[in-house]
Structure formats: C-alpha cells, structure tokens
Amino acid sequence: MSWLGLVWRSALRNRLRTALTTAGIALAVIAFLFLRTFIAAFYAGVENASADRLVVRNRIAITSPLPISYVDKIRGVRGVEELTWMSWFAGVYRDERSFFALFAVDPPSFYRVYPEFLLDEKERRAFFADQSGAVVGELLAERFGWRVGDRITLRGTIYPGDWELTIRGIYRGRDKATDRQQLHLHWKYVDERVDERQKNQVGIVVVRTAPGTGAQVAATIDRLFQSSLAETRTESERAFNLSFISMSAAIVSAVQVISMVVLGIILLVLGNTIAMGARERTSELAAMRAIGFRPRHLVGLIVGEGVLVAALGAGVGLALARPVLRFIADALESALGAFLGPFELSGRAAALAVAVCLVGGVLASALPAWRASRLVIVDALRRTE
C-alpha cells in the first residue's frame, strides 16, 4: 500500500457520501462550464471581430440610419480598401421565438469584406442574380430544415409586410467561431419595396482598411461628416460589437458571479463532507498519531482526500460537460437563436474549472486537516474508549 492508496481508501470510506459529493462537484463543474460557455458565446462577436474592419454608424444611435450617399463619400477616403453596407432587417419567421439575425446586404461587396462567410461559386452567382434570393448559415438551415431552392416568407417589423425569399445558398464558416446562423438578403430588394421615408438608407457601413491605418481612417471619416445632418461615429468592429452587447452587460456580470457562486457552494459541501469524515474517525486519527504519524501526515491525508474527491468530481464533470452542453445549446437555440455565438466548450474554461476544483479541494479540507493536526491524542482516545 502506498500513501496514495491510503488516501484513496480513506476517501472511499463512506462510498455513498463520496459518490454524492463527487456528483455534486461534477454538477457544479457542468453548471460552471455552461455559464462560462454562455458568456463566451455572448462575447463571440467581439472575440471574432476583424482587426482591419471599421464600422461607421449614425452618431446619435445605433438604430438611426445613414444616407446611402455616404457610401461613395467614404469610398473616397484615403486608406479605405473595401467597403460594404447593410441594414438590420427585423423579420420574423414563424414566430418571435424563432429569432435569428437577418441582414439586408449588398452581396458582392459584403462577401469581399466578410471573407469568413464561405459560399459555393454556383450558389454565389445564383444569389447575386436573384434580387429576392437569400443566403443562410448552415446552422440556421439545419435548424429549420431549409435547403437551396426553398421558399420562405418573413414578416417584416421595421420594414412592414410579408417578404418572400428564395434560398439560393447555404454558407459555411471559415472558422469554427464564425456565426453560421445569419440570413442575408439583398439590400436593394428591401430598398425598392419600402416607402419613401425608409428609402436610400443603410444601417451601417463597414470599411476594410490597410493594416494599422484604422484609427486614422476612422478619424477622417468622422471629420468628413462633421456638422452634416447625420454625423457618424466610426469605430473598430470589436468596439462596435462590444457596445452592441454592453446593454446586456449587467446580465453577463450576474452570470459570471453566479458561475463562481456555484463553485463556491459546492466547495462548502465538499468541506462539510471532509470535515464529517475526519470527525467520524477521530479515534482512528488519534491511533495513527499514537503509532507515530505526525500532524503533517494527517494534514497530507485529509487534504489529499479533499483534492482527490474534488479531482474526481472535476473529471466526471468534464467528461459529461460536452454532451450536456450540446443538449443545452440545442435547447437554447430555439429560445435565443442566433443571439448567441457558437456554443463551444473552451479549453480555458475547462482548465479554470479543474484549477478551481483542485484549489477548492485544498481549501475545503484545510480546516478539518488543521483540526486533525491539533488532535490531543489522549483526549481523542479517551472519547471513544
């Protein structure tokens, strides 16, 4: 028998209790990973933002449009390599719960500025040629069972009326993190059908610049429209995405706090389990001290048990996390749709969960271990004899 064997056998003294504690830790790890993944998915747009893309929007509010005439003016700014424009198309498919992101875009320039959306050449040509055509992300297509050629109807909210679209292509993502739940339709199709008040307007203009020139180009664009009817605010795509989700920052912060609280609670449970185990065998620990074990040996034994149970829980939690997260992600997709980015378990979150568990195992067993190390042998033996 080795020291590790002794720790292992001691940890399994009360198998039901150890199993329940392990299950509790595993559950906490899964909850922690879910919440962390949720936050990561929330920030996916920020993390995946391109460094050389700028977003030009109306200075007043993100919901206020810009005149289409700005596009040509911006194109003339030095340092602008490519640009495209788009409008947020708030359409409803089936019902409000089936939410996903819809953008009215200028297809040729859009796919040049956003090379992460991969489209077959044949489908690209078909989409470009059909003004009432649409392209959808592969996850979105999978979600609704859409195939190329399908006709769908959207109910417009910003742009009222029923909008008939034919799916001309299904795009893939260049990277794992690319949002594959968007629908793209022709900006021109929308612009031609809306009333006069909404004509010739775009939501944002997206500019691709030469590396390292972003700040300068942004300043030039904003100067260009200073004192005009629609002043602009130009910022990096990352900053734009960040401001877009900042409205939900309080929720994200709360989720972050809850994720740590979940682990904190379970570590208290672990501490209680270890403390109960140590208290129940006071006489055994006293006998160990009597036959020559030193206080540090008992500390090692009890802390070892705590870390072992925590590690077991973390291991089980990690093993189950991926399928459980997949299941939750599927369920969430119907509720939140494309509001979230890719729901992928990150290695960093997994490492953080394991580290917190191991450190927690040490902390949770520190007090019982300290108590055991201060055991007065004679008193402890007398209590049981």
Binding site: M1, W3, G5, L6, R9, S10, L12, R13, R281, S283, E284, A286, A287, M288, R289, A290, I291, G292, F293, R294, P295, H297, I377, V378, L381, T384, E385
Partner: protein, 243 residues
Amino acid sequence: MMLDDNPIDDGLAAEPLIRLRGVTKSYHRGRQEIPVLDDLDLDIPEGSFDALMGPSGSGKTTLLNLIAGIDRPTSGSVEVAGIELTTLSEGDLAAFRARHVGFIFQLYNLMPVLTAFQNVELPLLLTRLGRRERRRRVEIALRVVGLADRMDHYPRQLSGGQEQRVAIARAIVTDPTILVADEPTGDLDRQSAEEILRLLRLLNRRFEKTIVMVTHDPHAAAAASLVRRLDKGQLADQRADSR
C-alpha cells in the same frame, strides 16, 4: 529476540528500560486541579511483562500514556530506552513512538477501510522500507499472531479476537522496544481474551518483548510476570508472578 530472529544485546538487560522519577500528573477541570499521579518512581526492566492494576481513576492509563509518549507529565522524568521523553518536541515524540512503541488498544482502532495486511503495514509507511521488505515484515507479524490466512480480510470480516490479533501484529511489525496495551482483553469474550493473553506471553517470552499492560481483570493480570497496583496516583504494591 527480534521478530526476524536477530540476537539482542544482553548487556542492556540489567538496566531498567523504563525509568520514571518523581512523576506527577494533574489535569485541570476549569480552575480545579485534579491530581492523577503523585511523585511516582518506577523502574521496568527490559524483557518484563508488567500489569498495571488499580481502581478507576487510580492513574494507570495515565501512567501507560506517559510511558508510551502520548502524554507529558506535569513534572518529573520519564526515560524509555535511554531517551528522556520530557525534553522531546512533538515531532521527536512521534518519531520515538514510531520507533520504540507498539500500541494495543482496547477497541483495536483498526482502519475499517484497510485489510488486515494493510492495517499491519500502516506503521511501516513511516519507514524507508521498500515494498518487498514491508510485505515480508507484515507477513511475519501476521504469522506470529496466527492470521496469515486472514490478511486480505477487512476488520468487519473478523471476530473481535482476530481484530485484536491484527492490532497486535500492527504493534509488533516495526519491532518496537516496548509494547503498551490498554485493557487489551476488555472488549473480548473469555476464549478470545485467553488467546490474546497467550499471544502476549509468547511475545514476552519467546521474542523477549517488554510489555506494559493496563487491566482491570485479575485473570488478565495473572498473565503478566509482575503486577503493579496503583491507588490514588501512587504505586501501592507489586506482586511477582510465581510461574
């Protein structure tokens, strides 16, 4: 004689292995001081088998604890195997116990999650012995107590007498200088108690182990070579066994 049959140095036999001088021990209950041992002198020679008897509260277990190094006297000197215990730090006392003392408790104090073999091996984890040597020693100790065929049994699978024999194997596996036993037969039926006493006599006579045993039971005390009686913290008289 050591368990692995190495000869013992006969020159040490004449010196008392355990020597107590002017030992007093008192406990405090609140502000009240309760004397347990009062200016006690005691010499126990190597190779003896002493029984400590006396009424409850006479101080016999306290005396045993002092000899074993798990308690400290209020004043006086406790010397075992030439080592003055009162001057040792907690760590050194633990090392002393690991090397020189084998404990036999009334309630055995075996670890229920370990097999008989693993329980006996437990004190050897504190040594630098390799796995093979540990196994050899454990097997010898279990053979001595007659449980070689029960080494894979857990305590719950053993009778009380067998559990106590495993505890004795654990006590002797490090080949300690002294064995201290606190009511070793107190929780056993007559037949099991007799087996344990026979085993202790064997360890004393054949393996020349010095044994100090606390007991209430005159029948158990009769197994010892010397019976010392304590009363109110002092040695009252002693009676040598005629056998």
